[in-house]
């Protein structure tokens, strides 16, 4: 308990990492609800890996002496962001175009993309051994070492993403639920798809840069799954998923800090515990609301 209180104090040494994790926990599920509803969960597996491949590609370019920005540290970071956003954006464009055509096997495409991204990540690192340490840190999630400026940039971007998801919820829902109806109501479905995909791309790229692909996939998918059985409308679904994500991130940080464990895997495990509790509670509620057989027989 005392460790929890220490964590919540403003002068806590890792307060940027704590707040950053919790903000990520709140915001990722707001985007993730559409992965679940549009049945694009496997996008959540493939895109973070693609983003990681983009970062590995950026490290490889630096290894080959490509210099686009001044300053060693900022150059490394900026190139990594560009690599991550570019790879994720192009992959989303590729997947979205094929999805709209409706031909081929969607899961097969995602599986191939995931395998390619994983292989490319390893090859890009192999061509630049110096990037291996950075990549290892990335895969574990480096939010504990987040700098003041990165923390504020992350807050700004995640704040914008959260605002957009809540402000445009009506449009995203209509286009996802019934595209034909959206067209007859005069909505530009392509525009709203592009906006949602841009937000997905930004969330995945930024998330992979700060907490790693495992945590991003976990928080895009697991809290919405835990919230779905309890949701009574789109707004309650989004808010419950977001709350579950934020609390899982907080619990994960506490366990990680108290027992000196890696943050990313612990946070994802906390979200999975929440999912298990949600399913068990739902099953218990279902059993309680079911009428006993004896009362049905008595009525008959």
């Amino acid at each position: 308990m005392s460790q929890l209180l220490t964590m919540l104090k403003p002068d806590f040494l890792l307060h940027h990492a704590l707040y950053g994790s919790v903000v990520m926990g709140f915001v990722c599920p707001l985007v993730g609800v559409y992965f679940l509803l549009r049945r694009l969960v496997f996008w959540g597996v493939a895109l973070p890996q693609v983003s990681a491949a983009g970062i590995a590609f950026a490290f490889m370019l630096q290894g080959f002496g490509v210099h686009l920005f001044s300053g060693a540290e900022s150059q490394e970071k900026h190139l990594a962001i560009i690599g991550s956003v570019l790879f994720t954006g192009l992959s989303i464009l590729f997947l979205a175009v094929l999805e709209r055509r409706g031909k081929g096997v969607s899961e097969g495409r995602l599986g191939a993309l995931y395998a390619l991204a994983w292989a490319a990540s390893i090859l890009f690192v192999a061509w630049n051994a110096a990037g291996e340490t950075e990549m290892l840190g990335l895969l574990k999630g480096e939010i504990v070492a987040i700098s003041e400026s990165d923390f504020h940039a992350m807050l700004d971007i995640f704040g914008l993403i959260a605002a957009a998801m809540l402000l445009f919820q009506r449009e995203f829902l209509l286009v996802a639920y019934d595209r034909d109806m959206a067209v007859t109501l005069g909505r530009n479905v392509l525009l709203w798809d592009v906006i949602l995909y841009l937000i997905v791309g930004l969330t995945v790229s930024l998330g992979v840069m700060t907490v790693g692909p495992l945590v991003i996939f976990g928080f895009l998918v697991v809290p919405p799954m835990a919230a779905l059985p309890w949701a009574r409308g789109m707004m309650s679904f989004s808010l419950l998923a977001s709350l579950g994500g934020g609390l899982s991130a907080l619990a994960g940080f506490y366990v990680s800090y108290a027992y000196d464990l890696p943050l990313g895997p612990v946070a994802v495990s906390a979200a999975c515990v929440l999912l298990g509790v949600s399913w068990l509670a739902r099953a218990a509620v279902g059993l309680r609301s079911r009428k006993p057989a004896s009362s049905i027989l008595a009525k008959a």
Partner: protein
């Protein structure tokens, strides 16, 4: 003379470059109740999708003109199986989507306006008691009432229904047809209804479009549903 609401002239309709219907040439007058009939795969849904603007007309001309300049306001009732049951929406939420036309970006209606409209449309379709029930838990007939209410929330001039009676028992079919007849009179609607069978609804149609062998022909319901005509279409004596 009344201006036609929908007009096809030498039109070819289909997907990509493949025409499903060719030589489509007819006009639909306001406040008609038009049955779009034909075998499975005969192009009924293709015709409806073209009217709704979901797919472009491949060749020829297609125009639709509402009371104000521009195309008419459509209320669309899709096949209920097309809507994914994973969405955590109740009947009221589904109906409220029909009112989204009014929600311009950054200039939205008050929430209560949307709620009132949805509640009113549900009540008009005899589904007020379903408002708080999960849409995915409703029966086929209840879902159709909710989807018709959603289409009404769009304040349409044209109600377009795709196989609204499929998979629904006879009693509920009759109740839904009564509702449609009532709505047509009350709201002075034009109704386009796709169906692959002819039974209880034939008495409501003012006109029928037969889709068959790559053609779509419109005529008065009496003539189009005569034994002689049906015999020619089904290639059997009726």
């Amino acid at each position: 003379m009344t201006e036609p609401l929908i007009k096809f002239k030498h039109a070819s309709l289909g997907y990509g470059k493949a025409a499903v219907l060719a030589g489509v040439d007819f006009e639909i007058a306001p406040q008609s109740f038009v049955g779009i009939l034909g075998h499975n795969g005969s192009g009924k849904t293709t015709l409806l999708k073209t009217v709704l603007g979901l797919i472009p007309c491949l060749k020829g001309h297609f125009t639709s003109c509402g009371a104000q300049s521009g195309p008419p306001r459509f209320g669309y009732v899709p096949q209920k199986e097309r809507l994914d049951p994973i969405y955590p929406l109740n009947a009221h939420d589904v109906v409220a989507m029909g009112a989204y036309r009014k929600f311009e970006l950054f200039r939205r209606l008050r929430r209560s306006d949307g709620r009132d409209l949805a509640a009113h449309c549900l009540a008009e379709c005899g589904a007020a008691h379903l408002a708080r029930k999960a849409f995915s838990d409703l029966s086929g007939g209840q879902k159709q009432r909710v989807l018709i209410a959603r289409a009404l929330a769009a304040e349409p001039e044209v109600l377009a229904l795709d196989e609204p009676l499929a998979g629904i028992d006879i009693t509920t079919q009759k109740a839904l047809l009564n509702l449609l007849g009532h709505l047509k009179e009350q709201r002075r609607l034009t109704i386009l209804m796709v169906s692959h069978r002819i039974s209880a609804e034939r008495g409501l149609f003012t006109h029928v479009i037969w889709c068959d062998e790559g053609e779509a022909v419109l005529g008065p319901a009496d003539a189009m549903l005569s034994g002689e005509k049906l015999g020619a279409i089904f290639k059997t004596e009726l």
